[in-house]
Amino acid sequence: MSIETNQDVVLCLKDLKKDYGTKNVLKGINLTVQRGQIIGYIGPNGAGKSTTIKILLGLESEYGGRVEIFGEEINGNDINYKRKIGYVPEIAELYDNLTANEYLTFVGELYGMDLQAADEKARSLMKVFGLEAVYHSRISSYSKGMRQKVLIISSLLHNPDLLFLDEPLSGLDANSVMVFKEILAVLASQGKTIFYSSHIMDVVEKISNRIILINDGKIVADGSFNELKEQNKEGTLEQIFNQLTGFNEYKALAEEFVSIVQRI
């Protein structure tokens, strides 16, 4: 295919399979991502979203199929491709007994920045998010939203070309969400590629220019929101999601729930 030889291909998965013992988590994912795309990567809990991202980041090493990032197949020994990747994990995992200053410069240095540059950049970014005053306080004293902002900054500090965001908006207030969505749009327009994974359909619907829905370890839909809408004759991404994942009993479940609540 012509697309796959294109140098604008950032990410290419071929027949990606993964199992934990007898449980098949990924059953053959094929996917090609071009530069500048914002991919909304969605699916029900346990569909294999996080597993995919873990494989792409080299956290899982035993899998079937082929993974190419920036045109080269990844393997356990060459870690250089990670220099151009940024990652916001789903659970806010960070060393929270460090201060933001210490943590961010540490991460910056791991990506090969020098201390001075990382410090300056981190401070300026914290300032934009209104966190300048707590730059030297321990992260363990932060609120959930503040931690999330630190994670976001740590993923962008080294100006990566490819971003993996797993539920990046959790805990952010509405204003910060607007700022962040705008940041993503600007980054994408400058040629960064964003892999966005979330359960909040409204946001995915608005920011992604391509949506990939996986269910039970396979891709069940791939296309822009408008394309999905045409194929499925449903109004919102949420409804399309329900339809494609074969979930149509939400009304029955809700009624059951309420009826139990009303029991005395």
């Binding site: 990747i85 994990p89 460090l98 210490e102 540490f106 240095e109």
Partner: protein, 544 residues
């Protein structure tokens, strides 16, 4: 972040690391972060101490080494007196192994078990080898500091006495001992994680922490007496079971090289000391990958595992709680105190101490007089020492690791929170005080005979009354509603007052024992007082 001296020392070997394909800059940075974080933890050994105002950046770990230096003094007799090496050095290594291992489990488990490392570091351009070497160096730095603090003084004194060969053997022995400890700890974790989930492992670590606190406290007692206890003239008779006791292996080389005492047993022990740690390391490196896989269990818990229902709790609830609210809070407080690891860490060491202290005093008495004399004396009143932990433990009831959950009391439709207090105190007496009391009572009845039963009942009622008095500490704050961070270990005047009060109770009791039928009458009066004071406190102290 400061520039650690340890790391500057490590810089000397930069070339060596790089020749093994390790990214030294990255490794150094990871170590700097790890050391910074270590400095911010409070080691278990400090758990019992008064918490001072937070000073900026004081290294808790480095300060805890001071305590180990102090403890090392009790090892001096074993290296200085006599030359019964097999016996002395076995005890020396035994104590070192015990302290290093417990300290490793209690303070360093989160290094061995840190699951964040993978998610945070391996997603960055850091290769696995560099990370693994960084972790290994981190553990080594810790062990070197700890072992040095614990053995430097005794070893130097021993060297002065027995010559330079002693030092050499001592150091090699310590290196092997440390290897052995690391592997044994890791293998223990491996098996726990294999068969249980992460919660179980955290519980076990918690109990080791509690054990460490108790044994350090007991260690101070032994410290004062170690010179008189040590009998250097014990003759050694080798037998097969000694093969099962690792410290003896490590004691043997001293006998072999310093006294040229080379029989079959001594040589075999020395061989074990050398080869077992090396074999253990090889096994460990084989197990490493599956250990890492099991580590993932720490994060996602298998859930399931229906908790044991404590049938007697349900029975007890109905007997000692009257109102419905009180029953609800009783079960709640029971679950909270059972599950909260931080609470256990603060309170259980004191429980352990109150179990041991009465016997320490009685041993003194036996050493001074005789056992026969003890039995006829009034030393059973030392059971009052078990009440010493009450003021502190009651003061701890207002703290919780999850103190933010306390909003539930306010938002629930409750007339008064007094049932909460009385339930919490009842749980405290039933779950924490009563077991200690019952064990002590059983042993004391064994020693002093059935005649002391009414005295023991007096102590039980006094303890209940004393708990009510101590509940004044809780006045104004709800149970489980403040962070342990704020716990100023309630030292000072309050506790001294409470203890004086306890001394008065014990004094009255002692005086009453001289009056015929005094004890039963006193018991009756005490029950009445306790009953009314509980009611009174219910209406005043606990009600606001």
């Amino acid at each position: 972040m400061k520039n650690f001296r340890t790391l500057r020392f490590l810089d000397l070997f930069r070339g060596l690391f790089e020749s093994f394909g390790i990214n030294y800059t990255v490794m150094r940075r990871i170590l700097a972060v790890k050391l910074t974080m270590d400095g911010r933890r409070t080691p278990t050994i400090f758990n019992q101490q008064t918490k001072k105002k937070k000073k900026p950046e004081e290294n808790g770990f480095m300060k805890s080494l001071g305590i180990y230096v102090l403890l090392s003094l009790m090892l001096i007799p074993f290296t200085m007196l006599g030359s019964n090496f097999l016996y002395q050095m076995s005890i020396f290594y035994g104590i070192v192994m015990f302290l290093v291992m417990t300290s490793m489990i209690s303070d360093f488990s989160n290094v061995l078990l840190d699951v964040r490392d993978k998610a945070i570091l391996l997603t960055k351009p850091v290769n696995k080898k560099t990370l693994n070497v960084a972790k290994t160096i981190h553990v080594c730095i810790y062990l070197i500091f700890l072992t040095t603090a614990l053995t430097a003084i005794p070893l130097l004194i021993g060297t002065y006495r027995h010559g330079i060969l002693f030092l050499l053997l001592g150091v090699i022995g310590l290196v092997l001992v440390n290897l052995f400890i690391v592997v044994v700890t890791a293998i223990i974790y491996y098996f726990i994680l294999r068969f249980f989930d992460g919660e179980k492992l955290k519980d076990i670590i918690n109990y080791v922490q509690i054990g460490l606190s108790v044994s350090i406290a007991v260690g101070y007692q032994v410290l004062a007496r170690s010179f008189s206890v040590v009998d250097m003239n014990i003759t050694f008779t080798p037998s097969w079971w000694q093969f099962l006791i690792p410290p003896i292996w490590f004691g043997a080389p001293f006998e072999l090289f310093l006294k040229h005492h080379s029989d079959f047993y001594i040589i075999s022990f020395s061989m074990l000391a050398l080869f077992i740690p090396i074999i253990a390391i090889i096994i460990y490196s084989r197990l490493m990958p599956s250990f890492e896989r099991n580590l993932q269990k720490l994060t996602h818990n298998s859930g399931g595992g229906s908790r044991k229902k404590h049938w007697w709790i349900n029975g007890l609830v109905n007997v000692i709680c009257r109102s419905k609210e009180e029953k609800v809070f009783f079960r709640f407080a029971d679950n909270m105190m059972r599950n909260e690891r931080e609470f256990r860490l603060k309170v259980y060491p004191a429980l352990g101490m109150s179990l041991i202290v009465p016997f320490i005093f009685m041993f003194n008495e036996i050493q001074l007089n005789s056992y026969a004399h003890l039995v006829t004396s009034k030393w059973y009143l030392s059971v009052y020492f078990s009440c010493l932990m009450i003021p502190n433990a009651v003061a701890m009831l207002k703290y919780s690791g999850k103190y933010k959950g306390a909003w539930i009391y306010q938002s629930a439709p409750l007339q008064s929170l007094a049932p909460l207090y009385s339930a919490v105190l009842k749980v405290f007496i039933a779950n924490l005080f009563l077991p200690i009391y019952l064990i002590l009572s059983a042993v004391f009845i064994g020693i002093f005979g059935l005649k002391i039963i009414d005295d023991l009942l007096v102590v039980l009622v006094t303890a209940t009354l004393f708990t009510v008095i101590c509940s004044n500490y809780l006045k104004g704050t709800l149970p489980f509603s403040e962070s342990f961070e704020d716990a100023l270990q309630s030292g000072g005047l309050k506790v001294i007052l409470a203890l004086l009060c306890l001394a008065v109770f014990a004094g009255i009791h002692f005086a009453i024992t001289f009056i015929p039928f005094g004890v039963p009458i006193y018991l009756f009066i005490l029950i009445m007082i306790t009953f009314f004071s509980w009611k009174q406190a219910y209406r005043t102290v606990w009600n606001f």
